[in-house]
């Protein structure tokens, strides 16, 4: 039974790509655990699942700077699948990025897209390769060398250089969106960039696109609510509009909890927004939010317990 739970956890982490969000301690632990799990073997793991876990292990080894091991895993996967698939091509580009040079990786992907994928592709592969190319070009490319750029929210709109940098990002992503308007990840990333640059209204627009594509994405609804709250705080709008914006925020937060009963962020946002909407009577909602937060504090995972406890104690 526990093996089932372990397998399920690893596969979930892989399917949702949560491992890119892990902090160093968690990443190292996940790396060791995945390695041990694959070595130990599991009869119920289908070959496809095994390969996808190996892909995760590849990226984890890259994160942990274990390039040799990454190469070994890449060889193993390409032995079974060949090198046709776009995921393998992205992996190869990643290896080139660290073992060869960035220019090599960029050239490899560029050639691939131009000569092959422009004419014979499916949209997912095309966008995955384009995203990787874009990342390589803009993060590390010669033309846009920007190691000094600080992603910190507090000090980047003033800096002209960074502004130019983000403008390039926005331009490039828009070009890609023109080609593939149904890729939610592109819209989400664009929203992230606008958020960094404090263009919350643009970020709201992008997130609404995500919601159109993925109608049940409650995370996106909560994010929308968050953006509305920020927007209401910006200096651009007057008091009357502010209430309207906060109401939109509340609506989105309510939608997120309607889709997911014990969603901590959603309930927290509802509590916060209701407290800000002083003119209206929202006691029932606040009460409900408190009740739900208490419930989460009683039975959720350790992190959510901690946070809901903190929020309630405030």
């Amino acid at each position: 039974m526990s093996l089932t739970a372990v397998r399920q956890r690893l596969l979930t982490i892989n399917n949702t790509r949560t491992y890119v969000e892990f902090d160093p301690r968690e990443t190292v632990q996940l790396y060791n655990e995945t390695k041990r799990y694959l070595k130990h073997g599991d009869t119920q793991l289908t070959p496809e699942q095994r390969l996808s876990l190996m892909e995760m292990l590849f990226y984890l080894s890259i994160f942990c700077s274990e390039d040799v091991e990454a190469q070994v895993i890449y060889n193993q996967i390409s032995d079974t699948l060949g090198e046709e698939s776009c995921k393998l091509q992205v992996m190869k580009a990643t290896l080139l990025q660290f073992n060869g040079s960035i220019e090599e990786a960029i050239k490899y992907l560029d050639d691939l897209i131009r000569q092959e994928y422009e004419y014979d592709t499916d949209m997912a592969s095309y966008t995955v390769l384009s995203k990787k190319l874009l990342t390589l070009k803009l993060y590390y490319g010669k033309d846009y060398n920007n190691n000094d750029v600080n992603n910190d929210i507090n000090n980047n709109t003033e800096n002209k250089q960074t502004k130019k940098y983000w403008d390039t990002w926005i331009k490039e992503i828009n070009i890609l969106i023109e080609k593939s308007p149904l890729d939610p990840e592109l819209w989400w990333f664009l929203a992230k960039i606008y958020e960094l640059n404090r263009h919350f209204d643009y970020a709201i627009h992008c997130l609404q696109e995500v919601v159109l594509i993925m109608p049940f994405n409650y995370i996106a609804f909560a994010k929308l609510a968050e953006m509305y709250v920020y927007y209401s705080m910006s200096t651009k709008i007057n008091h009357k509009d502010k209430v309207e914006v906060l109401k939109s925020a509340l609506n989105n937060a309510l939608r997120s909890v309607e889709l997911s009963e014990t969603f901590l962020k959603g309930w927290t946002l509802i509590k916060l927004i209701c407290e800000r909407l002083k003119d209206e009577d929202k006691t029932r909602l606040i009460k409900l939010a408190n009740k739900k937060l208490k419930e989460i504090g009683n039975e959720s995972n350790d992190y959510d317990r901690f946070i809901s406890g903190y929020i309630l104690s405030k």
């Binding site: 399920q8 596969l11 399917n15 119920q44 592709t121 149904l182 919601v211 594509i213 309607e258 909602l285």
Partner: protein
Amino acid sequence: MKLLEILLSEDDYSIPELMLDPNFKKWVLLPISVMMVLTGLLKQNLLLLISPKYRGYPRVKLTESQWFMRGQMLLGNGTNLDDDSFESRRHEMINILSSGTYLAKQNKNNSNNGSNNTGESGVTNPFSDPNINDSLMTMAKGNMANFIPQTVIMWWVNYFFGGFVIMKLPFPLTIKFKDMLQNGVMTENLDVRWVSAISWYFISVLGMNPLYNLIQGSDEQQVINDNTTGNNTNQILGGPGQPAPETLMKNLANDLTIATRHESCFVNIESRVLKMYE
């Protein structure tokens, strides 16, 4: 109805008991059952093997259909937006669709400057297109994999085990089944409950599903979100038998123009949430 009556009637009239050679069980009943199970499993794996392969399209063609689908999504999932954002998006989409900005053919003609005049030919012969032939082939293969094993086994059973009675059914049947179930047995007055090998074949064809499920389907995969549903982004516009992409886009633009009544999911959301959880 008559069948039901007989099925449900208590079996009072006595049937003459036949003495069957016990070797029938060993050499007829069991081999047929084993063959049924094996071919069933083989068929499953065969279906996996001949499942359609990855097919690519030119990127412009995909872009075109994605913009079309974006319009459809706006119609379908537009309730997720508030009224203002829906309106602005609606107008934007109407413009895009009716102006045909992302039509694949147009782009091609612009870049190649009329080197190909595909626009004129109109309807193409569906059998000359290799892509369509491909899809027809996969369909045909799927059907073949379904009925070839059936026919082969039926032939096998009839050929090797025909002409004698092998077992007694535990339930009575009407006389109409006699032809089918006692196929090749030349006895006019034998009760229908005594049947030949082919009827065991029929019964197992009908009843094998639970067994197949138990043999192969016991993996209780509890993956939380297993995104194996495939991507729906790969359908393309203007497939076989469909109108041209341009017309489709125009039609969708018309639909969007009509869709002025927008119903947002945010209407009454507060009372809905309160009702749900309070």
